[in-house]
């Protein structure tokens, strides 16, 4: 990574800043543009109706999602997703910290947690449906029941791996338990917690889509399945595109939050590497 940025900088230095900006712009957008053009050309010459051209999809995108559908289908989905992610993080970190700190509890629960994590999350949808019926709460519970495991288990690992010198220092300075949690345990566990949250996010998105495909009369997943059953091909593609955008947005938002939360950590890593 460092090697290649170095070489870019050294070749671009002689040719001025305009060239450098232009080059990175080309690198960033060249291939996507090329792929779109190839897609457009290929679809305009072929007769395969399952693959409409990019312009058709874009038109369908505007027609389908801009307007009341945004309020009826997109917002409820996003609301369930956001609520589910938030609940997973809060519960996962709280319970994970507790289990990570209490040794006997950890040993008691470890095999169970391993099992629950190994269950493919989507199979929980029928179970939660059976227990809660088809409601909004059910969809949020489905998201939590899948997304919580990576967060919970990573928090446990992170809390466990707190540096023992620091723990003993905190002991001898008689730091109160709240201060200890706030300034030692949680920061020490945060890189692992964030890694867990990253995994949890993609699970949450998958569960949002499937729970809506399964049991819903609104939402993104429902809409896409509906378009497919009615052979509204361009609309279906526009839905896939929208889901992709939601996924990209989640990844970008996570990246921003992670950089803020783990600023100290990345700083340490860079210093130790140099």
């Amino acid at each position: 990574m460092t090697a290649h940025t170095g070489s870019v900088a050294s070749t671009a230095r002689g040719r001025g800043i305009g060239f450098r900006v232009g080059a990175s712009f080309l690198h960033a957008l060249g291939l996507p543009f090329l792929l779109l053009v190839i897609w457009g050309v290929a679809t305009s010459t072929s007769t395969n109706r399952f693959f409409p051209g990019p312009l058709t999809i874009f038109e369908a995108f505007v027609d389908t999602w801009v307007g009341p559908a945004f309020v009826e289908d997109v917002l409820p989905s996003l609301y369930r997703l956001g609520f589910g992610i938030l609940a997973s993080i809060v519960v996962g970190v709280a319970v994970g910290t507790l289990i990570g700190l209490v040794r006997w509890l950890r040993e008691l629960l470890e095999p169970l947690l391993e099992f629950f994590r190994a269950i493919p999350p989507p199979v929980l949808i029928p179970v939660v449906m059976l227990l809660l019926g088809i409601t909004d709460t059910m969809k949020v519970v489905v998201i939590v029941s899948g997304a919580i495991w990576p967060i919970l288990l990573n928090t446990i690992d992170g809390v466990r791996a707190t540096d023992s010198v620091m723990t003993e220092t905190a002991d001898s300075f008689q730091v109160t338990w709240w201060e200890r949690l706030r300034f030692l345990v949680l920061p020490a566990a945060s890189p692992r917690i964030m890694a867990g949250v990253r995994q949890g996010l993609s699970v949450a998105l998958i569960l949002m889509v499937i729970s809506e495909m399964f049991a819903s009369s609104s939402g993104l997943g429902y809409r896409i399945a509906y378009f497919q059953r009615n052979y509204l091909i361009a609309e279906m593609w526009s839905g896939i595109l929208l889901l992709g955008l939601v996924g990209v947005f989640l990844a970008v938002a996570f990246g921003v939050v992670e950089r803020r939360v783990l600023r100290w950590y990345h700083g340490i890593r860079e210093v130790s590497r140099a």
């Binding site: 290649h4 179970v127 993609s202």
Partner: protein, 266 residues
Amino acid sequence: MRVPSTRRLRALRKALLGVVGLAGFLAIWQLIPTLGLINSQYLPYVTDVIARLSEELRDLAFWRRLGATMTSWAIGLAVATFAAIVLGTIVGLVPFLRRATHTTVEFLRPIPSVALIPLAVLMFGIQRQAALVIIIYASFWQVFVQVIYGVADVDAVARDTARSFGLTRRERLSHLVLPTTLPYLMTGLRLAASVALILAITAEMVIGNPGLGRMIELSRSAGDSVGLYAFVVVTGLLGLLVNLVFRFIERRSLSWHQSVRGEEVL
């Protein structure tokens, strides 16, 4: 002499507590419908589920469904891994390609693979191929990204040394790039194996191609809650097995590596 005995005691305590935890969980599960907290129609007795499980295990049809699921899983994982290793090595070794593909990869990777289910159904109908599209798409990125990181992580000093000793391209690949990439590749492979299993079962649930996932969906729509819970337990055990096997493979293939050697000293 005392050190190993306390360690053994600790391991024994851990195993014992684990068993107690498992037994406690099963007991609570049994108690909830017994006390009527949740109707046994929605949460069946654990004894019924276990009886059903042992019944299924003696049924050849069950093993055939399990076989169907694991076949999709194995084909999908193999194709995705092979494609990811080849493409990841090429992209990772050529800095221009790495820069040029970055945005495309970052856009395609977060697309939830289940969003492609409708497309896969249109293309292939209710068949294994439709499930394979989803499985391969999801597990490809796990391996691909790790391989790119791994290939790019080759130590600069080692690379320069290899160059000044005049190693050929092939020698460099097998003595320099491969050992550096292997830990990354194994991580990617382990993640991809569980992702592939999740999507194999999900695809069967949503698309309806034969396998364990379809049995879950059929038990649900038939109101057979005992069967539903039994199949959910089976998928959990399957996930656990895949995890264990791939962790074992990871440790074996990296037994020379610092991360594994360091663990064994402790």
